[in-house]
Homo-oligomer: 963 residues x 2
């Protein structure tokens, strides 16, 4: 990529760019170039690169030098190719100006059509097309789009003017009765002339200058609008919600206009090469006769299906079917196409990989492997974490037959499958607020717009009155796998009264409804939802993933039920069994633990613990049975004791009475347990250091249960884990006591039970001194929840007040993702990496895993693989995501190596959200020492790849310097 | 040191050991060997090494194989040299068995005298000495010491029996009237015979076997008692209080007995070669005629001064003066001697470096440099941190003349100078409890014992009724530089009624008294104390230190007064000016900051801040003036906002009324500010990220003040510091805003004011990513208070419940010192080191300092030098300690290098409390990369030295492997 080339041309079957240049040309630009090059009918045009956008923002919203000249050159070339000139009063060239980022941001970015029209050229167009009404309609659209998009005038101002003319002059002229809608197509030339006059007046009133009659000025204004849209709030929000990082800006596509609104042999459509809802291999889409593209996407009119299009215009349809086949073979994936038919001739306006529902993602991937379009590895790579989440989304329990009949309300278009039940809200803000309060909400809108994205994300389901399957609501919801019904036209929404009506039925804000996104049906109640059957394609993909991955996946489970459930989802053991959760199960358990805490001396503490012993033993028996043959990591008591005791006086009195201790004493003890910073207080193994009798009880329970199970022929592999360790000596004391207790029980039982003693690494000091800790610990489990809190000095409970600013790209933008959701790889990750490396420097075969939220988050799991962990552990429902991620990282790294070092930084930057490597040389050095890594490359190299390092050679240079 | 040599012999002018073998032979053993070798009169004997003690504990209290044979061999040699045999019924060899650790632990360890006496040999001794009473007296002492020390019988049981006999038979026989004391010397042979019988009966009653008549059995029992004393609670406590680490155990000295109790031409004494209180070059000590050594140390009888000894026994005294001169020239230091005169002949029993008062430490060091006994560097090395602390201890304000007369109570012996005022307590436990409640207490005891050490440490001053200047109370208090008066015999203490009387004056527990340790006077009130004049020797030493050190020393100061004070103490700038402290100074300030916090929008926040602006500006003007020519680091607002607002309803109502805001709103805002873990919450630069207008105000105040001062010709060097930074980008945002605000003011003022923008490194992530942070920061200041809390996951406020166990060698023993007092070098220190190294990898000239408690702690300051910091910053009163430490580390490292690698591990282990290096290879590697260090060796090497690394060669091996 030449540094000074800012614009790429395409047209006449040739293109300067190609489909691989998405980062530079954006998805749309790359697609247009590629389609042009493979001979598809694409209007000519050129793409201003994303680099220009990047430079524009880096230079304080100024264009780079040289852009202007290049634009003039390319515009001239376009005029030559098309044979028309911009602004030509006789036969003007009209262009569309559209944004196109490297990643799809549906509806987020700006589009301006019909650019080049002026008071003079509109007449030329009228004459040339012989259709003055069409020319005027194009002009009024252009003024409106330019005014609102490029110049920031409220779109509603234009709409109001249009409605006024329609409601007065058009209605009167056509004799349309009040109450009946006046269509845009009813408006005639005179009325359009008047409308254009009004639009220009609106423009002048706002901008204080005339609507520009110089097409070049129009073009620069439109380009500025596109670049401006990149940093608009809605776009920034979208990127954050979608976890999009590492993308420098949007490209601008300037393309010769073709017109879908030139009569009934014209039209515009959006389609998918396969069904994006279920993945079926059928041609799927919408078509609007006599319309421009924006009409489809905005969902203003309800379009017809492709089958009807075939009937209406079989010739144009055949061209489209041919394009479908060409593109799937070319791209090896399901495509999302935009096209226009201008007087019977097909033009392709866009081609990109199509978004799809979770089920469709699995089905298409597996089908394409069978069709030999892609490999198994490709199929595994194509599944996203949210596809797995989505596939587990609930459906309505079909056993509620009577209820279904009784509460049926209305039907719309089944845009995204799944089901959702919740309280109705009518705007995005309320949706976010109610969701934050823990309510489940359904967002009901006439139509959605990019401004609603936050509320859409917060809602469990989305219901709109207008729009088709490719409307904004449908596309966005599908990306999230979120239940969505659109085009539910019978629904009459009254925003001001916070209700909607269906006939005489009224649904108010806060009322409960249920959506069946699979059928499009809506019910006026909260129905019971159940888990769906998993499609075969899901099982197939995960089986392929299991064949590929090396990282093992365990689960966090505290009960036999959870353990068994997780095992069904593919868990290969328990990575975190939180023993204290068991204490809360029943009143008697709670009472015993409280008695233990209130105890004033060792003997009374031991008496209370003796009550807990049989209970814990029984729990462990159940868990070991469920995990027969698989390892089970059990963490000894962890939370500060004050979490176990009642804090209100009534309950304290009750406790005092029950355990026969004076109330004052209970109260005093609870007060005594108060801590200024409980996160950094008396908890974790500090409790068993202070009260070793708790350790004795818990180890006794674990090992007794293990011996009992062993007697029954169950294979047990208990791993006893001490939390919050900060020092070798501390762990040594606990380890010795653990072994004394455990070995005595094993000896007495006569069973052969092997167990491991290890530790959580969740305090920075433990990671820093991991080489010492590993002298004692047989395994490490990184507790990255706490490690994140301490490494960042950030309490998860309190961060709500400032963390959003830190994750917001437009504010501090310190983190790309919430570090409590996706591991902070550059900071906490560095400590994890050091911990592993140092631990294994002492104990080569140290077993290393992670437990906590990050163990089921896709980027974090990949990181865990790259730093050489043996396993991740996560919530049961996240086990499949971890299995997938563990396979994807193997494939990704393999391919990165195959591609060679040069391609890595850009390819990987987006994955882990890091800057390219140059500046990172220093802290990455420890990685160079990690000896115990597995796989074809060292862990260090793998992490370096993940972080976007330039090339191993670069790093060893500095290593050499060190000598 | 041969591995299998457990015992070292000395006698007849030859010794297997020498004075440098303190670690192996203990201080006493090494001293005896050295004195023997240089021809001083020392009784023959041998030393069982500290290694045996170490092995004894490592093997579960079992002696190592081979010890027994070696003991038999050495005993035989001793018998040969002395010409007597242990247990010989005609002329028995008697020995003393005494402990002797490598460090002095006065009164902590056990001593058994007269070992070898049995029913048979006592008569041999009687005949041989012709003094049966003497022999019997020796025997009863032996039984008592052996019974209590080796076998654990209460000493009081023996004392009671002795008192019974004295009070009945002796009193009657001698006709001593009731109320008059019967002296030990009044007891005659028959009564001693009876006493021995009773003592043996007591022994048998407790031990259930006869008093051992086999001297070898006695010897093993005594050796076991010495080793046992090493791990006694009082010894462990003493080591913790004294921060003694890296010492493996005590040695046992078995030495031929000489007798100071053979009549009036015999005696025993303790002396110092110079006055340990003021350092004056005079011979100083106590002598007890006709007594054994234990009588002096225990302070049971009040001894005579050396001047009286000279008169009483000029011949023996002359021998002693000769020894004094020999030893000072030999050791180049003031010595603490124990000696016995047996029938006119002097025997040296101990020789060690003498403890001294802080003033004496300075005076002796400077005098010895002038006497050319030592170098300036030696002098600097000899000063301890507590010497500096002690020299600042207050004295009684002499202006209170009438008050002094009116409240004078009594006088005792001036054991340790300085003054103390506080509430009287009568036992160590109460002293500790009251001190923990924040009360200042004076511990009043008849005499102190090692069990009292904790309470002595907690008390501001110590007053005892008995004992001389070398009694337990005096020696221990002197070590701490703590005001102490002993031998105050007119004081009649009634422990049971919690009071003491002097004549008819009564002082009850809780009453206030004042001690003048310099004169020995006690006053019955709490007098005003003032800071003493500093001796010239102090200024001389610190001037030498300043010439040697490279590390600069700044201070933490928030007011012009503190700044000026610290400057007088040698501060070279302000390293931490906490702007928020200024907010609390007056009600109007508090009100303005509270109004700012309660503000609901930017505008009202700005209005409140505008009130603070002139106040802060004026403060900074004052500070800059005081620091003319020196740098001033100013930290922007740091604590969470809830620390500024009132939490009780009344004050909230007052605030609401004053600032004209509804009470409910104030209350709500305060509630909103509550945090679960404020330490990890919304504070530090997170506040200025959220409320940048606070930054604007503070930077405006700083730079306006700087420009104002510059106009007056004052040289200002402001350094603006952003706290709690975790990321480059976060700091970048703040740095840019800081510069925009600052540069505008500077430009407007027309002054040339240079300022720096930097950050505190106090969150682990910032240290880990220091290379990135240093892209923006011009300086780092390590905030090791918070860094310790986060790295250890330990809240300073809450650690009280478990940290004592973690510092207690006998419990978890994870830390040698409280990590909030002395930097946790292995954990937090590693992060500090990484932070510096990585920071300088980006910005070679990065200025690095430390602020917070550790910056004034001696070991931590040395660490800061070794990791290459530019400066430390500490409280004003700790500035001299930091200056000293910074010089000492230069000398220590220079000497370690000169000594060569082999000697380093052991030499340094004690300094930083670390194990030798072998296992630490992995985490030390980052050090090898520290490029920017100054001085003759790299910082890495210096730290490695400090941590006890084997040799640089070792480390580069692994670096080579990495390539």
């Amino acid at each position: 990529m030449a540094k000074d080339k800012f614009i790429y041309f395409f047209g006449e079957g040739k293109a300067e760019g190609n489909g691989n240049m998405k980062n530079l040309l954006g998805g749309k630009g790359a697609g247009l170039a590629e389609m042009t090059a493979i001979g598809l009918p694409v209007p000519a045009g050129f793409t201003i690169t994303t680099e220009v956008c990047d430079l524009y923002y880096k230079n304080g919203r100024k264009y780079p030098a040289g852009l202007k000249d290049e634009l003039i050159k390319h515009l001239a070339r376009l005029e030559r190719v098309v044979g028309k000139k911009l602004g030509d009063p006789k036969d003007p060239l009209l262009v569309s100006v559209r944004s196109g980022a490297p990643i799809s941001m549906p509806g987020m970015m700006e589009t301006i059509l019909n650019l080049g029209l002026t008071d003079a050229s509109v007449e030329g167009l009228a004459k040339k097309t012989g259709n003055r009404r069409f020319a005027l309609d194009a002009y009024r659209r252009f003024i409106m789009m330019y005014g609102s998009t490029a110049m920031g005038i409220e779109r509603a101002d234009f709409d109001a003017a249009f409605d006024r003319i329609k409601d007065t002059r058009t209605r009167r002229r056509c004799g349309i009765p009040a109450g009946q809608k006046v269509n845009d197509t009813d408006v005639n030339e005179e009325e359009l002339d008047a409308l254009i006059k009004e639009f220009k007046a609106i423009y002048k009133a706002h901008i204080r200058s005339d609507f520009p009659q110089n097409p070049t000025e129009q073009l620069w204004g439109a380009i500025g609008a596109v670049f401006g849209s990149w940093m608009a709030d809605k776009a920034v929000t979208y990127r954050r919600v979608e976890k999009i990082t590492g993308v420098v800006g949007t490209a601008v596509n300037v393309v010769q206009m073709v017109f879908g609104n030139m009569g009934n042999n014209s039209g515009t459509g959006v389609c998918f090469t396969r069904d994006p809802n279920n993945g079926e291999d059928i041609f799927y889409g919408d078509y609007l006769v006599n319309a421009q593209g924006e009409d489809v996407v905005a969902g203003i009119r309800t379009p017809i299906k492709l089958s009807e299009f075939e009937k209406a215009d079989p010739k144009a349809y055949r061209q489209l079917v041919q394009v479908r086949s060409t593109l799937e073979k070319h791209y090896h994936d399901m495509q999302d196409l935009e096209f226009t038919v201008e007087e019977g001739k097909l033009y392709m306006l866009q081609c990109r990989t199509g978004k799809r529902s979770p089920i469709a993602a699995f089905t298409i991937a597996v089908d394409m492997v069978r069709e030999k379009l892609i490999s198994k590895e490709d199929a595994v790579l194509r599944i996203k974490d949210k596809d797995i989440e989505g596939i587990f989304y609930p459906v309505i329990d079909p056993s509620q037959k009577d209820e279904l009949k009784r509460t049926y309300l209305v039907s719309g278009i089944d845009a995204v499958p799944g089901a959702a039940a919740g309280k109705v809200v009518f705007d995005a803000k309320t949706a976010e607020e109610w969701a934050a309060q823990g309510k489940t909400v359904i967002l009901v809108r006439r139509e959605t717009s990019p401004e609603d994205v936050g509320g859409m994300h917060a809602a469990k389901g989305i219901l709109t009155a207008t729009g088709g399957k490719t409307s904004h609501a449908a596309v966005v919801a599908r990306g999230w796998g979120k239940c969505c019904i659109v085009g539910c036209e019978k629904m009459d929404i009254d925003y001001s009264r916070r209700l909607f009506k269906v006939g005489d039925k009224v649904v108010k804000e806060g009322d409960e409804i249920t959506l069946n996104g699979t059928t499009g049906d809506v019910y006026q109640t909260s129905l019971k939802l159940i888990q769906p059957e998993l499609p075969d394609a899901y099982q197939t993909i995960l089986q392929w993933a299991d064949e590929i991955r090396r990282l093992r996946v365990r689960t966090n489970a505290d009960t036999p039920y959870d353990a068994a459930h997780a095992r069904k989802l593919g868990a290969q053991g328990i990575g975190l069994c939180r023993t204290e959760h068991m204490f809360f199960d029943t009143p008697e358990r709670r009472e015993a633990i409280q008695e233990m805490i209130v105890a004033e001396d060792v003997d009374s503490r031991k008496r209370a613990l003796a009550k807990l012993l049989p209970i814990q033993t029984e729990d462990f028996r159940g868990i070991f049975k469920a995990m027969d043959g698989l390892p089970v990591t059990i963490r000894l008591i962890d939370p500060p004791l004050h979490e176990f005791v009642p804090h209100d006086e009534d309950k304290q009195r009750q406790l005092a009475a029950k355990i026969g201790v004076p109330f004052e004493k209970v109260k005093h003890r609870v007060e005594q347990l108060h801590e200024a910073n409980p996160m950094l207080g008396h908890r974790g193994c500090r409790l068993t250091i202070t009260y070793p009798e708790i350790l004795d009880m818990q180890v006794t329970a674990i090992i007794t249960a293990a011996c009992d199970c062993a007697k029954l022929g169950i294979k047990v592999e208990p791993e006893i884990m001490h939390p919050l360790v900060i020092d070798r000596k501390e762990l040594k004391i606990l380890e010795e006591r653990t072994r004394v207790v455990a070995d005595a029980i094993i000896k007495k039982s006569g069973q052969k039970v092997k167990y491991l003693v290890g530790t959580m690494i969740e305090v920075p000091r433990a990671a820093l001194l991991a080489n010492e800790v590993a002298e004692v610990a047989e395994f490490f489990s990184f507790g990255t929840n706490d490690l994140t809190q301490m490494t960042l000095g950030m309490s998860r409970d309190d961060a709500g007040r400032f963390l959003p600013d830190y994750v917001d790209e437009k504010k501090a933008g310190v983190f790309k993702f919430d570090p409590f959701q996706s591991l902070d790889q550059s900071g906490v990750g560095l400590l994890v990496q050091m911990g592993i490396e140092r631990g294994r420097s002492t104990r080569k075969d140290l077993k290393v895993g992670i437990c906590g939220e990050h163990g089921g988050e896709i980027n974090s799991v990949k990181f865990c693989h790259r730093v050489g962990m043996n396993y991740v552990s996560c919530s049961p429902f996240r086990v499949p995501i971890a299995r997938l991620a563990a396979a994807q990282v193997v494939i990704e790294d393999k391919r990165a190596v195959a591609k060679g070092p040069a391609s890595r930084p850009a390819a990987k930057a987006a994955v882990v959200g890091r800057k390219p490597a140059a500046k990172k040389a220093a802290p990455k050095k420890p990685a160079a020492r990690m000896g115990a890594a597995k796989g074809p490359k060292t862990a260090a190299a793998r992490v370096a790849v993940a972080r976007g390092a330039k090339a191993p050679a670069k790093r060893s240079l500095s290593a050499a310097k060190r000598k």
